[in-house]
Amino acid sequence: MTSDRPLLNVQNVSHYYGDRAGCLDVSVDLWPGEIIGIVGESGSGKTTLLNCLSARLQPTAGRIFYDQRHRGLVDLYALSEAERRFLIRTDWGMVHQNPRDGLRLGVTAGANIGERLMAVGERHYGQIRDKALDWLGRVEIDTARIDDLPQTFSGGMQQRLQIARNLVTGPRLVFMDEPTGGLDVSVQARLLDLLRGLVTRLHLSVVLVTHDLAVVRLLAHRLMVMQRGRVVESGLTDQVLDDPQHRYTQLLVSSVLQA
């Protein structure tokens, strides 16, 4: 975290669905290598904000700047559609809660990884396959499964494959929407540990949306707590969780069941 300017600079972003505010007046900077967690109940606006930040939902108001590789600061929603698609393909990753939304189930595990490489211009079959094998190993999937369809994988394996597919192209910013959401607790712990290692080693920046406070405690440096579209509290993760100031954060933290 030594860079002197943020990777993502979000200024007063709001998004309305008709009269109803999805997210309201959100401002935040995300620095290189930083993981920011967005927590709150269903309907609090986390996913709306995530969609705005990841260039998939145009804000009604506010601006978002991204420090693009080889180009510098760009206004996300001032880019042409082609420029935006190029940026998303080369600089970003998106890990969905449901692996089915992030994988192509009808093609092999190797092809799921290789496809992303081809999208950024890789053409050499041998190199693509080698990279796919390398990434299967890194996400702890038996490399002998490279020619199997993801349909035959367990939920945890599918999620790890989705992560490999996202990280193979070396993105600098990854958006994650409840990445451990549909998994058994034992599988969750393994995935979290894997994610922790990968993001530290690759110096990734991550925007992580979840309702699970244990997940953000393990992964996120910083936290934003959302309620009814607004960020009601933000700060260092351990500070927000251990010494919550806002009424809603106190309620959220005190409602967690102790295992």
Binding site: M1, D193, T200, H221, L236, Q239, D243, Q245, L251
Partner: protein, 233 residues
């Protein structure tokens, strides 16, 4: 010559419990504290007087309502009460360590890696970090056969020693210790006392809570009484 490591001025801490009828609990007020490098200060006072709260405030784990918390970092001062999150994280990565009373176990991660993590976060290579972790674990008497296991099933004393190894591995210039010997037998307590004395001799600063009077007498230069700063009820 002594140089100042920590310079706390006029801090106050109150907890406002919104979910419990907005009760306000005052912990301390107008509290100032100075700690020099090469010395060890023990926070002192009856249970509930705010020792752990003060320690957590120094680490910016708790916020304070007023005052400044100066911590020496990279030759300058950072006010932990006001610094931006990434600044606080930089201080925690290089200048300020904290050994909590209980190890917060990360599921599935081997003991050796838990201890090595502070070094790895600073960019030390995996192998070198694990080698150093092995030295620390040996020092605090954790048998080698346990190193590759996650510590969730360890005894309280073993977990505390893992926590101490993790706290001491990175040679933080300033170290905060919350009852580092509470769960330890006399022999292991003496080892930890020795580690604290060595840190002092290396001109590092230590602030701690020590219930064991013998250990306190052995390692501490000053007692800091919290009672005078008790917030009015």
């Amino acid at each position: 010559m002594m140089t100042q490591a920590i310079d706390v001025r006029g801090i106050a801490k109150n907890f406002r419990l919104h979910t419990q009828g907005d009760v306000e609990i005052g912990v301390f007020q107008e509290l100032s504290l100075s700690v020099d490098f090469g010395s060890c200060v023990a926070l002192h006072g009856p249970s509930g007087c705010g020792k752990s709260t003060l320690l957590r405030a120094l680490y910016a784990n708790y916020r304070v309502d007023r005052g400044t918390i100066g911590v020496r970092h990279d030759g300058g001062w950072v006010d932990m009460a006001r610094a931006a999150p990434r600044e606080i994280l930089a201080v925690r990565q290089r200048s300020l360590g904290y050994v909590s009373q209980f190890l917060r176990v990360i599921p599935r991660v081997a003991t050796l890696d838990i201890v090595a993590e502070p070094l790895r976060q600073r960019g030390v290579a995996d192998d070198a970090a694990r080698e150093q972790a092995a030295i620390l674990l040996r020092r605090v008497n954790i048998p080698e056969r346990l190193w590759e296991l996650a510590p969730s099933t360890f005894s309280g004393g073993e977990q505390q020693r893992v926590n101490i190894a993790r706290g001491f591995i990175a040679d933080f210039p300033i170290l905060l210790l919350d009852e580092p010997t509470a769960a330890l037998d006399a022999e292991n307590g003496a080892i930890v006392a020795e580690m604290i004395l060595e840190a002092k001799a290396q001109d590092r600063a230590i602030v701690g809570i020590f219930h064991d009077a013998a250990i306190r007498a052995k390692v501490c230069d000053h007692l800091f009484e919290l009672a005078p700063f008790k917030a009015a009820a």
